[in-house]
């Protein structure tokens, strides 16, 4: 920082200039000189930042020291100017001081006097610079704080989630534009107002009260959905707590679900469309086959009836496939586990067995049940569990030759309710066993050639059972039979 000690000497006398330069240079200053006022002023203007102190002779030919003083003061009021007065008169010194000079030194002066005056000025300059730096720093940090605050505000305002903050009494403290949009409120008008007055949604009010003074201490967040106008909003309300765990207020995050629900509806429409567009023609084909088979359209030969029976079976298979695909698409969308209730597995199994009895009888297979009584309930979706047992039982009947036997047992097994479907069917080879739960896995062999299936039954069953936190497993011996075990966790609490 050598320029902190840069001194300009303006004097028409070369002797003074040279002696000043010598004295000040030996004192560690960088010295520049000017021989008259014009030159001096130019030097001042040429280096507005670098110059620390100017030594200025008042009495010079041409532009006088006073003129230089005035011009320099206008150009840079902070510049420290020490005037050199040859008269040693107080008057001109006072006049110069009035015009903005910092100090004066009378000619003739000793090197010590010069150094003293210049150093005093340099020190002042130094202090001024430091003060200025401190001021700048303070301003900067203030600006940073302001920026940080507005940054957080900007982030909150830019969020697509709505934010509503209330104090302990339920008065609104902060909202963002997304919240205003979702709740249909004017954010400014709502500040300080009680939430009940501003929004008037009972559910939201309840949630806010619920987290401020929870009925159960473990309640920390309340999530719910409600409707405002034609928008569906999901709201998560949590308490805002101090470091001492004292509740200061609440924060609610709002999520606009309208678009998701719309998407869901569109998906539903798509599924319905596919289902209608595929099912209808296949139904119509089946319907016409049924008509001809029934003789409504005239007599048929036995061979024709045989062929039509095959066609009927295949079109029925297609309808099953569509039903399975729809089921999977629903399952994969996660929309099937909506209504879990306490269920008695043995009752669900009984319903399914009643449904399948006809099919078993037609095939000449005996269907036996061993249903234990007063089993613990499981938490499940009735339709889906019916589907599981229907698929498993239907497989057992399908793959068991006439004269065979299918036994269904439901019993308690530790924390689970166990259902075992055991048949005396054709069995599954060891190579095929690992793939049995795969999508579209069907055992192709001489024995299964005539059996129509979608290859989705066990895949669906597994999906449902796992969604119930249960498990499904298969044991089998080729030629002897297969046993499928479904474990469903008992309902706890």
């Amino acid at each position: 920082m050598s320029n902190l000690r840069k001194v300009l000497v303006i004097d028409d006398e070369a002797v003074i200039r040279d002696s000043c330069r010598r004295i000040l240079a030996s004192d560690g200053c960088e010295v520049v000189t000017a021989a008259d006022g014009e030159e001096g002023l130019e030097a001042i203007k040429g280096d507005p930042q670098g110059l620390a102190v100017v030594l200025l002779d008042l009495k010079m030919p041409g532009m006088s020291g006073m003129q230089v003083l005035e011009a320099a003061g206008k150009f840079n009021p902070a510049l420290l100017i020490v005037v050199i007065t040859g008269y040693a008169t107080v008057d001109s010194a006072v006049e110069a001081m009035k015009k903005g000079a910092y100090d004066f030194i009378a000619k003739p002066f000793t090197p010590d006097q010069l150094c003293l005056v210049v150093n005093r000025a340099l020190e002042k300059r130094q202090l001024e610079l430091e003060a200025e730096e401190l001021r700048a720093e303070a301003a900067r940090s203030l600006r940073d704080v302001a920026t940080e605050k507005s940054k957080v505000r900007t982030i909150i305002n830019s969020m697509s989630y709505g934010i509503v903050v209330t104090d302990r009494e339920g008065r609104i403290v902060l909202t963002n534009p997304a919240a205003s949009r979702m709740l249909r409120i004017e954010s400014k008008a709502c500040l300080e107002k009680p939430l009940s007055e501003a929004v008037g949604d009972a559910k939201l009010m309840e949630a806010v009260q619920g987290v401020v003074s929870p009925k159960k201490p473990e309640v920390t967040t309340i999530s719910q959905e409600f409707q405002i106008g034609d928008s569906f909003i999901r709201a998560h309300t949590a308490a805002v707590k101090s470091d001492e765990a004292e509740v200061l207020g609440t924060v609610t995050v709002l999520e606009d679900m309208t678009y998701l629900l719309e998407l869901d509806r569109m998906k539903g429409n798509f599924i319905a469309m596919v289902s209608h567009e595929l099912r209808s023609p296949i139904s119509a084909i089946g319907q016409n086959i049924n008509l001809i088979l029934d003789g409504v359209a005239g007599d048929t030969t036995e061979k024709q009836r045989h062929l039509l029976m095959r066609a009927k079976k295949r079109s029925k298979g297609l309808l099953d496939l569509i039903a399975d695909l729809l089921e999977i698409s629903k399952m994969e969308a996660g929309v099937t586990m909506q209504c879990k209730e306490p269920l008695q597995v043995e009752e669900v199994v009984r319903t399914v067995v009643e449904l399948m009895e006809g099919e078993a009888r037609t095939k000449g297979i005996s269907l036996a049940t061993e249903l234990h009584h007063s089993l613990p309930p499981v938490l499940g979706d009735r339709d889906n569990l019916e589907r599981v047992f229907t698929n498993v039982l239907s497989n057992a009947i399908k793959y068991t030759p006439a004269g065979g036997k299918v036994v269904i047992e439901v019993c308690s097994d530790g924390d689970y309710v166990k259902t075992v479907v055991k048949d005396t069917g054709i069995g599954i080879s060891q190579e095929d066993l690992p793939r049995i739960f795969d999508k579209f896995s069907r055992i192709k062999s001489e024995k299964t050639r005539g059996i129509v299936g979608t290859g989705l039954g066990l895949f669906i069953a597994k999906g449902i059972v796992e969604a119930h936190l249960g498990s499904i497993s298969v044991e089998s011996e080729e030629g002897k039979g297969t046993s499928v075990t479904v474990l469903l966790p008992q309902k706890t609490g």
Binding site: A272, S275, H276, R279, S280, P281, S283, A284, I285, G286, Q287, N288, I289, N290, L291, D294, V296, A297, S315, L319, D320, I322, A323, E327, T351, V352, L355, R382, D383, N384, E386, R387, T390, S394
Partner: protein, 127 residues
């Protein structure tokens, strides 16, 4: 006089098939190819029974059924719903819907067995 049956289905092939079955049994058949048309014809022709498809694009069978059953003048007309529900699907969901949403008198899965259809219709009409 021959009993008149109204068949409502948006699929003309199905209407034709069901008509063929019923005409072969001596019924008089009227046809409608959508829910809205079906409702109009049901009111205009006052049939002895309606065979009603569930899935139709303009107005589904449930809605048609509900509207007719809510009207004193038409409440007595038996309605047999035709569904695309495949028989190996668990039936409870469907039965729930039948109980809650409709007051249909009976239902059958498509495609129907001609013999079974005739049998059910005879039961409904003789009530």
């Amino acid at each position: 006089m021959a009993k008149k049956i109204l068949i409502v289905d948006d699929d003309p092939d199905l209407v034709e098939a069901v008509s063929t079955i019923l005409e072969s049994k001596g019924y008089t058949v009227a046809a409608a190819y959508g829910g809205v048309e079906g409702l109009k014809k049901a009111k205009a022709e006052h049939p002895d029974l309606i065979v009603l498809d569930v899935m139709m694009p303009d107005k589904d069978g449930y809605a048609v059924c509900k509207e007719l059953k809510a009207d004193k003048k038409y409440r007595s007309i038996p309605i047999l719903l035709l569904t695309a529900v495949v028989s190996n699907i668990p039936t409870t969901k469907y039965t729930h819907q039948m109980g809650k949403d409709t007051e249909a008198d009976d239902y059958m899965d498509k495609p129907v067995e001609p013999g079974e259809l005739v049998k059910r219709i005879e039961v409904l009409i003789s009530k």
